[in-house]
Symmetry: C2
Subunit: 333 residues, 2 copies
Protein backbone atom coordinates (compact mmCIF):
# COMPACT_ATOMS: atom_id res chain seq x y z
CA UNK A 1 0.00 0.00 0.00
CA UNK A 2 2.79 2.45 0.83
CA UNK A 3 6.33 2.75 2.19
CA UNK A 4 6.80 1.18 5.65
CA UNK A 5 5.78 3.52 8.48
CA UNK A 6 7.99 4.04 11.54
CA UNK A 7 6.59 3.43 15.01
CA UNK A 8 6.51 7.15 15.81
CA UNK A 9 4.73 8.03 12.57
CA UNK A 10 2.13 5.40 13.41
CA UNK A 11 1.67 6.79 16.92
CA UNK A 12 1.30 10.33 15.53
CA UNK A 13 -1.33 9.02 13.10
CA UNK A 14 -3.20 7.37 15.97
CA UNK A 15 -3.09 10.52 18.12
CA UNK A 16 -4.61 12.49 15.24
CA UNK A 17 -7.45 9.98 14.82
CA UNK A 18 -8.50 10.01 18.47
CA UNK A 19 -10.20 12.75 20.55
CA UNK A 20 -7.84 14.93 22.60
CA UNK A 21 -9.37 14.29 26.02
CA UNK A 22 -11.15 11.06 26.95
CA UNK A 23 -13.47 10.48 29.90
CA UNK A 24 -11.77 8.90 32.94
CA UNK A 25 -8.36 8.64 31.28
CA UNK A 26 -5.89 10.24 33.70
CA UNK A 27 -3.02 9.40 31.35
CA UNK A 28 -3.43 7.84 27.91
CA UNK A 29 -1.22 6.13 25.33
CA UNK A 30 1.86 8.28 25.99
CA UNK A 31 3.21 6.46 29.08
CA UNK A 32 4.17 2.86 30.01
CA UNK A 33 0.57 2.10 30.95
CA UNK A 34 -2.75 3.91 30.73
CA UNK A 35 -3.87 5.44 34.03
CA UNK A 36 -7.62 5.10 34.48
CA UNK A 37 -10.11 6.17 37.13
CA UNK A 38 -12.07 3.47 38.98
CA UNK A 39 -15.55 3.95 40.40
CA UNK A 40 -15.28 2.64 43.93
CA UNK A 41 -17.39 -0.29 45.01
CA UNK A 42 -17.78 -1.55 41.45
CA UNK A 43 -16.32 -4.70 40.01
CA UNK A 44 -14.22 -4.43 36.91
CA UNK A 45 -15.03 -6.48 33.78
CA UNK A 46 -12.13 -7.20 31.44
CA UNK A 47 -12.20 -8.99 28.10
CA UNK A 48 -10.13 -9.32 24.96
CA UNK A 49 -10.89 -10.49 21.46
CA UNK A 50 -8.77 -10.39 18.33
CA UNK A 51 -9.50 -10.06 14.62
CA UNK A 52 -6.84 -11.89 12.59
CA UNK A 53 -6.50 -11.45 8.83
CA UNK A 54 -7.26 -14.75 7.09
CA UNK A 55 -9.12 -16.09 10.15
CA UNK A 56 -11.74 -13.48 11.10
CA UNK A 57 -11.69 -11.38 7.96
CA UNK A 58 -10.64 -11.80 4.33
CA UNK A 59 -7.87 -9.80 2.66
CA UNK A 60 -10.51 -7.66 0.91
CA UNK A 61 -11.66 -6.33 4.29
CA UNK A 62 -8.36 -4.44 4.45
CA UNK A 63 -9.92 -2.04 1.96
CA UNK A 64 -12.28 -0.81 4.68
CA UNK A 65 -10.22 -0.26 7.84
CA UNK A 66 -12.93 1.91 9.45
CA UNK A 67 -15.27 -1.08 9.34
CA UNK A 68 -12.58 -3.39 10.73
CA UNK A 69 -12.03 -0.99 13.63
CA UNK A 70 -15.76 -0.71 14.24
CA UNK A 71 -16.20 -4.47 14.36
CA UNK A 72 -13.12 -5.07 16.53
CA UNK A 73 -14.45 -2.59 19.10
CA UNK A 74 -18.03 -3.89 18.86
CA UNK A 75 -17.26 -7.56 19.50
CA UNK A 76 -15.36 -6.64 22.67
CA UNK A 77 -17.96 -4.17 23.91
CA UNK A 78 -20.55 -6.89 23.30
CA UNK A 79 -18.78 -9.12 25.86
CA UNK A 80 -19.12 -6.37 28.48
CA UNK A 81 -22.77 -5.88 27.45
CA UNK A 82 -23.39 -9.61 27.86
CA UNK A 83 -22.33 -9.38 31.51
CA UNK A 84 -24.51 -6.33 32.21
CA UNK A 85 -21.57 -3.94 32.49
CA UNK A 86 -20.83 -0.43 31.31
CA UNK A 87 -17.89 -0.34 28.87
CA UNK A 88 -15.22 2.13 30.02
CA UNK A 89 -11.85 1.65 28.28
CA UNK A 90 -10.34 0.06 25.19
CA UNK A 91 -6.68 -0.87 24.75
CA UNK A 92 -5.66 -1.76 21.21
CA UNK A 93 -2.77 -4.10 20.40
CA UNK A 94 -1.97 -4.00 16.68
CA UNK A 95 0.21 -6.39 14.67
CA UNK A 96 1.01 -4.58 11.44
CA UNK A 97 2.45 -5.98 8.22
CA UNK A 98 4.95 -3.64 6.54
CA UNK A 99 2.63 -2.41 3.77
CA UNK A 100 0.20 -0.45 5.95
CA UNK A 101 -0.50 3.19 4.99
CA UNK A 102 -1.10 6.18 7.29
CA UNK A 103 -4.70 6.45 6.06
CA UNK A 104 -5.28 2.81 6.99
CA UNK A 105 -4.23 3.49 10.60
CA UNK A 106 -6.27 6.66 10.65
CA UNK A 107 -9.47 4.98 9.46
CA UNK A 108 -8.95 1.92 11.67
CA UNK A 109 -8.61 4.07 14.80
CA UNK A 110 -11.53 6.27 13.79
CA UNK A 111 -13.65 3.12 13.64
CA UNK A 112 -12.32 1.93 17.01
CA UNK A 113 -12.63 5.33 18.67
CA UNK A 114 -16.08 6.22 17.33
CA UNK A 115 -17.57 2.84 18.23
CA UNK A 116 -15.98 3.01 21.68
CA UNK A 117 -17.31 6.53 22.23
CA UNK A 118 -20.86 5.55 21.17
CA UNK A 119 -20.91 3.01 24.02
CA UNK A 120 -18.95 4.99 26.62
CA UNK A 121 -15.54 3.32 26.14
CA UNK A 122 -12.46 5.54 25.72
CA UNK A 123 -9.42 4.31 23.75
CA UNK A 124 -6.86 4.56 26.55
CA UNK A 125 -3.71 3.07 25.08
CA UNK A 126 -2.29 -0.02 23.47
CA UNK A 127 0.70 -1.38 21.68
CA UNK A 128 2.01 -1.55 18.13
CA UNK A 129 4.09 -4.41 16.84
CA UNK A 130 5.34 -5.53 13.48
CA UNK A 131 3.72 -8.69 12.16
CA UNK A 132 5.70 -10.69 9.60
CA UNK A 133 2.49 -12.22 8.26
CA UNK A 134 -1.10 -11.17 8.79
CA UNK A 135 -2.59 -8.04 10.29
CA UNK A 136 -4.13 -8.60 13.72
CA UNK A 137 -6.24 -6.20 15.77
CA UNK A 138 -6.36 -7.30 19.39
CA UNK A 139 -8.76 -5.30 21.53
CA UNK A 140 -8.86 -5.33 25.30
CA UNK A 141 -11.98 -3.85 26.89
CA UNK A 142 -12.54 -2.91 30.53
CA UNK A 143 -15.98 -2.22 31.93
CA UNK A 144 -17.59 -1.80 35.32
CA UNK A 145 -20.65 -3.23 37.03
CA UNK A 146 -22.28 -3.35 40.43
CA UNK A 147 -21.16 -6.62 42.05
CA UNK A 148 -24.78 -7.70 42.53
CA UNK A 149 -25.73 -6.88 38.93
CA UNK A 150 -23.51 -9.10 36.83
CA UNK A 151 -24.96 -11.52 34.25
CA UNK A 152 -23.12 -14.83 34.47
CA UNK A 153 -23.51 -17.92 32.30
CA UNK A 154 -23.85 -20.41 35.11
CA UNK A 155 -27.13 -19.51 36.81
CA UNK A 156 -29.72 -21.03 34.44
CA UNK A 157 -32.45 -23.11 36.13
CA UNK A 158 -34.51 -26.06 34.86
CA UNK A 159 -37.78 -24.69 33.44
CA UNK A 160 -36.32 -21.27 32.57
CA UNK A 161 -37.36 -19.89 29.22
CA UNK A 162 -34.52 -19.21 26.75
CA UNK A 163 -34.92 -15.85 25.01
CA UNK A 164 -33.01 -13.78 22.46
CA UNK A 165 -33.01 -10.15 21.40
CA UNK A 166 -33.46 -9.05 17.78
CA UNK A 167 -33.35 -11.33 14.76
CA UNK A 168 -30.42 -13.76 14.98
CA UNK A 169 -29.21 -15.11 11.66
CA UNK A 170 -28.96 -11.66 10.07
CA UNK A 171 -25.17 -11.62 10.34
CA UNK A 172 -24.81 -14.99 8.62
CA UNK A 173 -27.33 -13.79 6.02
CA UNK A 174 -25.21 -10.69 5.39
CA UNK A 175 -22.11 -12.85 4.97
CA UNK A 176 -23.95 -15.13 2.54
CA UNK A 177 -25.10 -12.11 0.56
CA UNK A 178 -21.49 -10.92 0.27
CA UNK A 179 -20.31 -14.39 -0.80
CA UNK A 180 -23.02 -14.52 -3.49
CA UNK A 181 -23.07 -10.91 -4.67
CA UNK A 182 -23.68 -11.84 -8.30
CA UNK A 183 -27.03 -13.57 -7.56
CA UNK A 184 -28.81 -10.80 -5.61
CA UNK A 185 -29.27 -7.05 -5.82
CA UNK A 186 -28.02 -4.78 -3.01
CA UNK A 187 -31.26 -3.10 -2.03
CA UNK A 188 -32.07 -1.55 1.37
CA UNK A 189 -33.04 -4.94 2.81
CA UNK A 190 -29.75 -6.56 1.79
CA UNK A 191 -27.87 -3.54 3.08
CA UNK A 192 -29.39 -4.09 6.52
CA UNK A 193 -28.11 -7.70 6.51
CA UNK A 194 -24.64 -6.66 5.38
CA UNK A 195 -24.53 -4.04 8.16
CA UNK A 196 -25.54 -6.71 10.69
CA UNK A 197 -22.48 -8.67 9.59
CA UNK A 198 -19.97 -5.87 9.09
CA UNK A 199 -20.87 -3.39 11.83
CA UNK A 200 -22.78 -5.32 14.49
CA UNK A 201 -24.39 -3.37 17.32
CA UNK A 202 -23.38 -4.41 20.85
CA UNK A 203 -26.44 -4.48 23.14
CA UNK A 204 -25.06 -2.46 26.08
CA UNK A 205 -28.32 -0.80 27.17
CA UNK A 206 -30.15 -4.14 26.95
CA UNK A 207 -27.46 -5.83 29.08
CA UNK A 208 -27.89 -3.14 31.74
CA UNK A 209 -31.67 -3.62 31.86
CA UNK A 210 -31.33 -7.42 32.09
CA UNK A 211 -28.73 -7.08 34.87
CA UNK A 212 -30.74 -4.52 36.84
CA UNK A 213 -33.88 -6.66 36.60
CA UNK A 214 -32.25 -9.30 38.86
CA UNK A 215 -34.54 -11.95 37.32
CA UNK A 216 -32.18 -13.03 34.52
CA UNK A 217 -30.47 -16.27 35.58
CA UNK A 218 -27.88 -16.61 32.79
CA UNK A 219 -26.86 -14.56 29.75
CA UNK A 220 -24.27 -14.23 26.99
CA UNK A 221 -23.89 -12.67 23.57
CA UNK A 222 -24.46 -14.67 20.40
CA UNK A 223 -21.00 -14.80 18.87
CA UNK A 224 -20.73 -18.46 17.85
CA UNK A 225 -24.37 -19.21 16.96
CA UNK A 226 -27.38 -19.94 19.19
CA UNK A 227 -26.70 -23.69 19.55
CA UNK A 228 -23.06 -23.29 20.49
CA UNK A 229 -23.65 -20.29 22.77
CA UNK A 230 -26.62 -21.87 24.55
CA UNK A 231 -24.29 -24.87 24.91
CA UNK A 232 -21.97 -22.66 27.00
CA UNK A 233 -24.85 -21.82 29.34
CA UNK A 234 -25.78 -25.54 29.58
CA UNK A 235 -22.15 -26.48 30.28
CA UNK A 236 -21.75 -23.80 32.99
CA UNK A 237 -25.16 -24.43 34.57
CA UNK A 238 -25.00 -28.24 34.40
CA UNK A 239 -28.28 -28.36 32.45
CA UNK A 240 -29.63 -29.05 28.96
CA UNK A 241 -31.83 -26.97 26.65
CA UNK A 242 -34.45 -27.29 23.93
CA UNK A 243 -34.77 -24.81 21.07
CA UNK A 244 -38.07 -24.66 19.15
CA UNK A 245 -37.01 -24.03 15.56
CA UNK A 246 -40.34 -22.48 14.52
CA UNK A 247 -40.06 -19.86 17.29
CA UNK A 248 -36.78 -18.39 16.06
CA UNK A 249 -37.44 -14.70 15.24
CA UNK A 250 -35.99 -14.67 11.72
CA UNK A 251 -35.99 -11.36 9.89
CA UNK A 252 -38.04 -10.86 6.74
CA UNK A 253 -34.79 -9.89 4.97
CA UNK A 254 -32.97 -13.09 6.00
CA UNK A 255 -35.95 -15.21 4.89
CA UNK A 256 -36.05 -13.44 1.51
CA UNK A 257 -32.33 -13.99 0.91
CA UNK A 258 -32.54 -17.63 2.07
CA UNK A 259 -35.26 -18.16 -0.53
CA UNK A 260 -33.14 -16.67 -3.32
CA UNK A 261 -30.00 -18.61 -2.32
CA UNK A 262 -31.90 -21.81 -1.53
CA UNK A 263 -30.52 -21.80 2.03
CA UNK A 264 -32.20 -22.39 5.40
CA UNK A 265 -32.42 -19.18 7.46
CA UNK A 266 -32.99 -21.31 10.58
CA UNK A 267 -29.47 -22.72 10.18
CA UNK A 268 -28.08 -19.17 9.90
CA UNK A 269 -29.64 -18.34 13.27
CA UNK A 270 -28.65 -21.63 14.93
CA UNK A 271 -25.09 -21.98 13.67
CA UNK A 272 -24.08 -18.73 11.93
CA UNK A 273 -22.86 -16.65 14.89
CA UNK A 274 -21.57 -13.07 14.98
CA UNK A 275 -25.04 -11.66 15.67
CA UNK A 276 -24.01 -10.06 18.98
CA UNK A 277 -27.61 -10.19 20.14
CA UNK A 278 -28.07 -11.27 23.77
CA UNK A 279 -29.37 -14.72 24.72
CA UNK A 280 -30.62 -15.24 28.28
CA UNK A 281 -32.71 -17.44 30.55
CA UNK A 282 -35.34 -16.39 33.10
CA UNK A 283 -38.32 -17.92 34.91
CA UNK A 284 -41.42 -18.03 32.64
CA UNK A 285 -43.35 -15.70 34.99
CA UNK A 286 -40.67 -12.97 34.70
CA UNK A 287 -40.41 -12.83 30.92
CA UNK A 288 -43.49 -10.76 30.10
CA UNK A 289 -42.49 -7.77 32.20
CA UNK A 290 -38.93 -7.81 30.84
CA UNK A 291 -40.16 -7.96 27.26
CA UNK A 292 -42.48 -5.00 27.81
CA UNK A 293 -39.83 -2.90 29.53
CA UNK A 294 -37.23 -3.55 26.80
CA UNK A 295 -39.74 -2.82 24.06
CA UNK A 296 -40.78 0.42 25.74
CA UNK A 297 -37.33 1.71 26.74
CA UNK A 298 -35.18 0.48 23.85
CA UNK A 299 -37.62 -0.43 21.10
CA UNK A 300 -36.04 -3.90 20.97
CA UNK A 301 -37.89 -7.22 20.63
CA UNK A 302 -37.28 -10.13 23.00
CA UNK A 303 -38.49 -13.57 21.90
CA UNK A 304 -38.75 -16.90 23.72
CA UNK A 305 -37.05 -19.55 21.58
CA UNK A 306 -36.76 -22.49 23.99
CA UNK A 307 -36.45 -23.78 27.52
CA UNK A 308 -33.85 -25.12 29.93
CA UNK A 309 -34.12 -28.83 30.75
CA UNK A 310 -32.55 -31.20 33.27
CA UNK A 311 -31.01 -33.21 30.39
CA UNK A 312 -27.35 -32.69 31.17
CA UNK A 313 -25.42 -30.50 28.69
CA UNK A 314 -27.39 -31.40 25.54
CA UNK A 315 -28.86 -28.72 23.28
CA UNK A 316 -31.72 -30.14 21.17
CA UNK A 317 -33.38 -28.32 18.31
CA UNK A 318 -37.02 -29.37 17.92
CA UNK A 319 -39.05 -28.86 14.72
CA UNK A 320 -42.67 -27.69 14.60
CA UNK A 321 -43.89 -31.31 14.40
CA UNK A 322 -42.01 -32.21 17.60
CA UNK A 323 -39.24 -34.12 15.77
CA UNK A 324 -35.73 -33.52 17.03
CA UNK A 325 -33.83 -31.73 14.28
CA UNK A 326 -30.44 -32.04 15.94
CA UNK A 327 -29.18 -32.66 19.45
CA UNK A 328 -25.57 -31.67 19.62
CA UNK A 329 -23.42 -28.60 19.53
CA UNK A 330 -22.44 -27.67 15.95
CA UNK A 331 -21.48 -24.00 16.42
CA UNK A 332 -18.20 -22.46 15.33
CA UNK A 333 -15.25 -23.81 17.24
CA UNK B 1 4.34 -30.72 16.62
CA UNK B 2 1.06 -32.60 16.99
CA UNK B 3 -2.49 -32.92 15.64
CA UNK B 4 -4.45 -29.64 15.70
CA UNK B 5 -6.10 -28.97 19.07
CA UNK B 6 -9.75 -27.87 19.34
CA UNK B 7 -10.59 -24.68 21.21
CA UNK B 8 -12.11 -26.60 24.10
CA UNK B 9 -9.10 -28.89 24.45
CA UNK B 10 -6.91 -25.80 24.58
CA UNK B 11 -9.09 -24.20 27.25
CA UNK B 12 -9.00 -27.42 29.29
CA UNK B 13 -5.21 -27.45 28.99
CA UNK B 14 -5.07 -23.84 30.20
CA UNK B 15 -7.36 -24.53 33.16
CA UNK B 16 -5.07 -27.37 34.22
CA UNK B 17 -1.97 -25.15 34.05
CA UNK B 18 -3.40 -22.37 36.24
CA UNK B 19 -4.19 -22.29 39.96
CA UNK B 20 -7.84 -23.06 40.87
CA UNK B 21 -8.58 -19.83 42.76
CA UNK B 22 -6.87 -16.51 42.04
CA UNK B 23 -6.78 -13.44 44.27
CA UNK B 24 -9.41 -10.81 43.43
CA UNK B 25 -10.85 -12.75 40.50
CA UNK B 26 -14.63 -12.89 41.09
CA UNK B 27 -15.08 -14.76 37.81
CA UNK B 28 -12.25 -15.93 35.57
CA UNK B 29 -11.85 -17.19 32.00
CA UNK B 30 -15.16 -19.09 31.88
CA UNK B 31 -17.49 -16.14 31.11
CA UNK B 32 -17.71 -13.36 28.47
CA UNK B 33 -15.38 -11.17 30.52
CA UNK B 34 -13.31 -11.57 33.66
CA UNK B 35 -14.91 -10.03 36.75
CA UNK B 36 -12.30 -8.40 38.97
CA UNK B 37 -12.36 -6.60 42.30
CA UNK B 38 -11.25 -2.96 42.42
CA UNK B 39 -9.66 -1.35 45.46
CA UNK B 40 -11.61 1.85 45.90
CA UNK B 41 -9.84 5.18 45.61
CA UNK B 42 -7.04 3.71 43.49
CA UNK B 43 -6.36 4.42 39.87
CA UNK B 44 -6.11 1.52 37.49
CA UNK B 45 -3.04 1.01 35.29
CA UNK B 46 -3.56 -0.95 32.07
CA UNK B 47 -0.97 -1.98 29.51
CA UNK B 48 -0.49 -4.49 26.73
CA UNK B 49 2.53 -5.86 24.95
CA UNK B 50 2.80 -8.69 22.43
CA UNK B 51 5.50 -11.24 21.56
CA UNK B 52 5.27 -12.16 17.87
CA UNK B 53 7.17 -15.11 16.41
CA UNK B 54 9.72 -13.86 13.89
CA UNK B 55 9.66 -10.34 15.39
CA UNK B 56 10.27 -10.68 19.13
CA UNK B 57 11.52 -14.24 19.22
CA UNK B 58 13.06 -16.73 16.79
CA UNK B 59 11.43 -20.02 15.80
CA UNK B 60 13.84 -21.88 18.12
CA UNK B 61 12.27 -20.13 21.12
CA UNK B 62 9.15 -22.26 20.49
CA UNK B 63 11.14 -25.11 22.04
CA UNK B 64 10.89 -23.38 25.42
CA UNK B 65 7.28 -22.22 25.88
CA UNK B 66 7.71 -21.77 29.66
CA UNK B 67 10.38 -19.16 28.97
CA UNK B 68 8.20 -17.45 26.35
CA UNK B 69 5.34 -17.24 28.87
CA UNK B 70 7.66 -15.92 31.55
CA UNK B 71 9.00 -13.19 29.30
CA UNK B 72 5.58 -12.21 27.94
CA UNK B 73 4.30 -11.73 31.50
CA UNK B 74 7.48 -9.98 32.67
CA UNK B 75 7.57 -7.29 29.96
CA UNK B 76 3.99 -6.31 30.76
CA UNK B 77 4.45 -6.37 34.53
CA UNK B 78 7.52 -4.20 33.97
CA UNK B 79 5.30 -1.48 32.46
CA UNK B 80 3.18 -1.46 35.62
CA UNK B 81 6.37 -1.41 37.73
CA UNK B 82 7.67 1.56 35.74
CA UNK B 83 4.59 3.57 36.78
CA UNK B 84 4.92 2.63 40.45
CA UNK B 85 1.88 0.35 40.42
CA UNK B 86 1.04 -3.03 41.86
CA UNK B 87 0.29 -5.61 39.15
CA UNK B 88 -3.09 -7.26 39.70
CA UNK B 89 -4.40 -9.10 36.62
CA UNK B 90 -3.19 -10.57 33.34
CA UNK B 91 -5.37 -11.34 30.32
CA UNK B 92 -3.75 -13.46 27.64
CA UNK B 93 -4.72 -13.26 23.96
CA UNK B 94 -3.10 -16.09 22.01
CA UNK B 95 -2.81 -16.48 18.23
CA UNK B 96 -1.99 -20.15 17.66
CA UNK B 97 -0.71 -21.82 14.50
CA UNK B 98 -2.23 -25.27 13.89
CA UNK B 99 0.81 -27.31 14.97
CA UNK B 100 0.73 -26.42 18.68
CA UNK B 101 0.78 -29.32 21.17
CA UNK B 102 -1.02 -29.59 24.55
CA UNK B 103 2.32 -29.56 26.38
CA UNK B 104 3.25 -26.30 24.63
CA UNK B 105 0.08 -24.61 25.96
CA UNK B 106 0.66 -26.12 29.38
CA UNK B 107 4.24 -24.86 29.67
CA UNK B 108 3.41 -21.44 28.18
CA UNK B 109 0.64 -20.85 30.74
CA UNK B 110 2.79 -22.17 33.57
CA UNK B 111 5.36 -19.53 32.65
CA UNK B 112 2.68 -16.84 32.42
CA UNK B 113 0.92 -17.90 35.63
CA UNK B 114 4.05 -18.39 37.75
CA UNK B 115 5.58 -15.08 36.71
CA UNK B 116 2.27 -13.30 37.30
CA UNK B 117 1.91 -14.90 40.73
CA UNK B 118 5.47 -13.93 41.76
CA UNK B 119 4.51 -10.28 41.25
CA UNK B 120 0.93 -10.41 42.48
CA UNK B 121 -0.85 -10.61 39.10
CA UNK B 122 -3.53 -13.29 38.56
CA UNK B 123 -4.24 -14.68 35.09
CA UNK B 124 -7.90 -13.68 34.87
CA UNK B 125 -8.93 -14.61 31.35
CA UNK B 126 -8.12 -14.04 27.73
CA UNK B 127 -8.86 -15.21 24.26
CA UNK B 128 -7.66 -17.90 21.88
CA UNK B 129 -7.58 -17.46 18.13
CA UNK B 130 -6.15 -19.38 15.22
CA UNK B 131 -3.24 -17.67 13.52
CA UNK B 132 -2.61 -18.65 9.90
CA UNK B 133 1.03 -17.61 10.23
CA UNK B 134 3.07 -16.93 13.33
CA UNK B 135 2.39 -17.55 16.99
CA UNK B 136 1.61 -14.41 18.95
CA UNK B 137 1.26 -14.00 22.71
CA UNK B 138 -0.52 -10.76 23.52
CA UNK B 139 -0.62 -9.93 27.22
CA UNK B 140 -2.80 -7.29 28.85
CA UNK B 141 -1.86 -6.31 32.38
CA UNK B 142 -3.92 -4.32 34.86
CA UNK B 143 -2.42 -2.83 38.00
CA UNK B 144 -3.40 -0.33 40.66
CA UNK B 145 -1.74 2.67 42.25
CA UNK B 146 -2.56 5.54 44.57
CA UNK B 147 -3.44 8.52 42.33
CA UNK B 148 -0.72 10.63 44.00
CA UNK B 149 1.92 7.91 43.62
CA UNK B 150 2.18 7.35 39.89
CA UNK B 151 5.50 7.65 38.04
CA UNK B 152 4.96 9.49 34.77
CA UNK B 153 7.44 10.21 32.00
CA UNK B 154 6.68 13.90 31.68
CA UNK B 155 7.85 15.40 34.98
CA UNK B 156 11.64 15.59 34.50
CA UNK B 157 13.24 18.93 35.44
CA UNK B 158 16.38 20.66 34.15
CA UNK B 159 19.27 19.76 36.44
CA UNK B 160 17.74 16.41 37.53
CA UNK B 161 20.15 13.51 37.69
CA UNK B 162 19.34 10.56 35.43
CA UNK B 163 19.74 7.24 37.22
CA UNK B 164 19.27 3.55 36.42
CA UNK B 165 18.88 0.37 38.45
CA UNK B 166 21.09 -2.68 37.97
CA UNK B 167 23.48 -3.22 35.08
CA UNK B 168 21.86 -2.30 31.75
CA UNK B 169 23.36 -4.00 28.72
CA UNK B 170 23.14 -7.48 30.24
CA UNK B 171 20.14 -8.44 28.12
CA UNK B 172 21.89 -7.44 24.87
CA UNK B 173 25.00 -9.26 26.11
CA UNK B 174 22.91 -12.40 26.71
CA UNK B 175 21.48 -12.14 23.19
CA UNK B 176 24.97 -11.70 21.73
CA UNK B 177 26.16 -14.75 23.63
CA UNK B 178 23.30 -16.82 22.16
CA UNK B 179 24.06 -15.54 18.64
CA UNK B 180 27.75 -16.48 19.04
CA UNK B 181 27.47 -19.70 21.05
CA UNK B 182 30.38 -21.33 19.23
CA UNK B 183 32.93 -18.70 20.37
CA UNK B 184 32.28 -18.71 24.14
CA UNK B 185 31.67 -21.25 26.91
CA UNK B 186 28.42 -21.24 28.88
CA UNK B 187 29.76 -20.76 32.40
CA UNK B 188 27.84 -19.27 35.36
CA UNK B 189 28.67 -15.72 34.24
CA UNK B 190 27.29 -16.27 30.73
CA UNK B 191 24.25 -18.01 32.20
CA UNK B 192 23.46 -14.85 34.17
CA UNK B 193 23.54 -12.80 30.95
CA UNK B 194 21.34 -15.30 29.10
CA UNK B 195 18.85 -15.21 31.99
CA UNK B 196 18.81 -11.39 31.84
CA UNK B 197 17.76 -11.73 28.19
CA UNK B 198 15.39 -14.69 28.39
CA UNK B 199 13.70 -14.24 31.77
CA UNK B 200 14.07 -10.57 32.71
CA UNK B 201 12.99 -9.51 36.20
CA UNK B 202 10.39 -6.69 36.35
CA UNK B 203 11.30 -4.20 39.09
CA UNK B 204 7.93 -3.97 40.86
CA UNK B 205 9.22 -3.39 44.41
CA UNK B 206 11.65 -0.75 43.14
CA UNK B 207 8.87 1.04 41.26
CA UNK B 208 6.79 1.15 44.47
CA UNK B 209 9.67 2.67 46.45
CA UNK B 210 10.36 5.29 43.76
CA UNK B 211 6.65 6.19 43.58
CA UNK B 212 6.22 6.39 47.36
CA UNK B 213 9.32 8.59 47.70
CA UNK B 214 7.49 11.41 45.88
CA UNK B 215 10.88 12.83 44.79
CA UNK B 216 11.14 10.96 41.48
CA UNK B 217 10.15 13.35 38.68
CA UNK B 218 10.01 10.95 35.72
CA UNK B 219 10.50 7.22 35.24
CA UNK B 220 10.15 4.34 32.76
CA UNK B 221 11.50 0.86 32.17
CA UNK B 222 14.41 0.23 29.81
CA UNK B 223 12.80 -1.74 27.02
CA UNK B 224 14.26 -0.04 23.92
CA UNK B 225 17.72 0.94 25.24
CA UNK B 226 18.81 3.83 27.47
CA UNK B 227 19.15 6.40 24.66
CA UNK B 228 15.76 5.70 23.14
CA UNK B 229 13.97 5.39 26.49
CA UNK B 230 15.56 8.53 27.94
CA UNK B 231 14.47 10.11 24.65
CA UNK B 232 10.85 9.38 25.62
CA UNK B 233 11.34 11.24 28.92
CA UNK B 234 12.93 14.18 27.03
CA UNK B 235 10.09 14.22 24.51
CA UNK B 236 7.39 14.13 27.22
CA UNK B 237 9.13 16.63 29.50
CA UNK B 238 10.22 19.04 26.73
CA UNK B 239 13.86 18.76 27.82
CA UNK B 240 17.17 17.26 26.70
CA UNK B 241 19.61 14.93 28.48
CA UNK B 242 23.31 14.07 28.70
CA UNK B 243 24.57 10.56 29.39
CA UNK B 244 28.14 10.12 30.67
CA UNK B 245 29.33 6.94 28.97
CA UNK B 246 31.99 6.16 31.59
CA UNK B 247 29.38 6.21 34.37
CA UNK B 248 27.25 3.43 32.87
CA UNK B 249 27.19 0.57 35.43
CA UNK B 250 28.23 -2.27 33.12
CA UNK B 251 28.41 -5.75 34.61
CA UNK B 252 31.68 -7.61 34.85
CA UNK B 253 30.07 -10.42 32.82
CA UNK B 254 29.02 -8.10 29.98
CA UNK B 255 32.49 -6.52 29.86
CA UNK B 256 34.10 -9.99 29.71
CA UNK B 257 31.86 -11.12 26.85
CA UNK B 258 32.32 -7.82 24.99
CA UNK B 259 36.11 -8.42 25.17
CA UNK B 260 35.77 -11.94 23.73
CA UNK B 261 33.40 -10.87 20.96
CA UNK B 262 35.23 -7.61 20.23
CA UNK B 263 32.07 -5.61 20.91
CA UNK B 264 31.45 -2.45 22.94
CA UNK B 265 29.43 -3.16 26.10
CA UNK B 266 28.59 0.56 26.32
CA UNK B 267 26.62 0.20 23.08
CA UNK B 268 24.73 -2.77 24.53
CA UNK B 269 23.62 -0.60 27.45
CA UNK B 270 22.82 2.46 25.31
CA UNK B 271 21.04 0.78 22.42
CA UNK B 272 20.42 -2.88 23.30
CA UNK B 273 17.14 -2.64 25.19
CA UNK B 274 15.08 -5.37 26.90
CA UNK B 275 16.84 -4.84 30.25
CA UNK B 276 13.61 -3.97 32.09
CA UNK B 277 15.62 -2.04 34.67
CA UNK B 278 14.08 1.28 35.71
CA UNK B 279 15.44 4.64 34.54
CA UNK B 280 14.37 7.77 36.43
CA UNK B 281 15.19 11.39 37.12
CA UNK B 282 15.30 13.18 40.48
CA UNK B 283 16.85 16.32 41.99
CA UNK B 284 20.57 15.78 42.83
CA UNK B 285 19.90 16.36 46.56
CA UNK B 286 17.32 13.55 46.69
CA UNK B 287 19.36 10.82 45.06
CA UNK B 288 21.57 9.77 47.98
CA UNK B 289 18.70 8.89 50.28
CA UNK B 290 16.88 6.93 47.56
CA UNK B 291 20.03 4.97 46.69
CA UNK B 292 20.56 4.03 50.33
CA UNK B 293 16.95 3.00 50.88
CA UNK B 294 16.85 0.83 47.74
CA UNK B 295 20.18 -0.79 48.61
CA UNK B 296 19.01 -1.53 52.14
CA UNK B 297 15.48 -2.73 51.35
CA UNK B 298 15.96 -4.50 48.01
CA UNK B 299 19.72 -5.02 47.72
CA UNK B 300 19.60 -3.24 44.34
CA UNK B 301 22.13 -0.69 43.07
CA UNK B 302 21.06 2.70 41.69
CA UNK B 303 23.61 4.62 39.63
CA UNK B 304 23.66 8.17 38.28
CA UNK B 305 24.44 8.02 34.55
CA UNK B 306 23.60 11.53 33.38
CA UNK B 307 21.60 14.72 33.80
CA UNK B 308 18.60 16.51 32.33
CA UNK B 309 19.36 19.64 30.30
CA UNK B 310 17.37 22.48 28.81
CA UNK B 311 18.53 21.44 25.32
CA UNK B 312 15.18 20.53 23.77
CA UNK B 313 14.64 16.82 23.07
CA UNK B 314 18.25 15.86 22.31
CA UNK B 315 19.96 12.97 24.09
CA UNK B 316 23.76 13.34 23.96
CA UNK B 317 26.20 10.65 25.02
CA UNK B 318 29.45 12.17 26.33
CA UNK B 319 32.75 10.24 26.56
CA UNK B 320 35.17 10.43 29.51
CA UNK B 321 37.23 13.10 27.69
CA UNK B 322 34.16 15.33 27.27
CA UNK B 323 33.76 14.58 23.55
CA UNK B 324 30.22 14.00 22.36
CA UNK B 325 29.97 10.36 21.30
CA UNK B 326 26.54 10.71 19.73
CA UNK B 327 23.65 13.13 20.00
CA UNK B 328 20.58 11.52 18.57
CA UNK B 329 18.16 8.77 19.33
CA UNK B 330 19.32 5.43 17.90
CA UNK B 331 17.29 2.97 19.99
CA UNK B 332 15.09 0.24 18.61
CA UNK B 333 12.13 1.57 16.70
Amino acid sequence: MARPLGEFEIIEQIKKALPKKAQGVVCGPQDDAAVLETPSGMVMLATCDVLVQGVHFADEALENPWQLGTKAAAVNISDIAAMGGEPAYLLISLGLPSNISPSFIDDLYKGLGQTGARFGASVAGGNISKSPGQLFIDVFCIGFAHPTQVLYRNGAKTGDVVAVSGTPGDSAAGLNFLLNKQTTQLDAAMQRLVRAHQTPEPKVALGRILAQSKVVNAALDISDGIVSDLGHICESSGLGAKIFAEKLPLSHEALTLAGVLNCDAIDWALYGGEDYELLFTTAPKDFGHLKEKVKKELGLELTIIGEMTAENKTVSVVDADGKIRTSKSRGWD
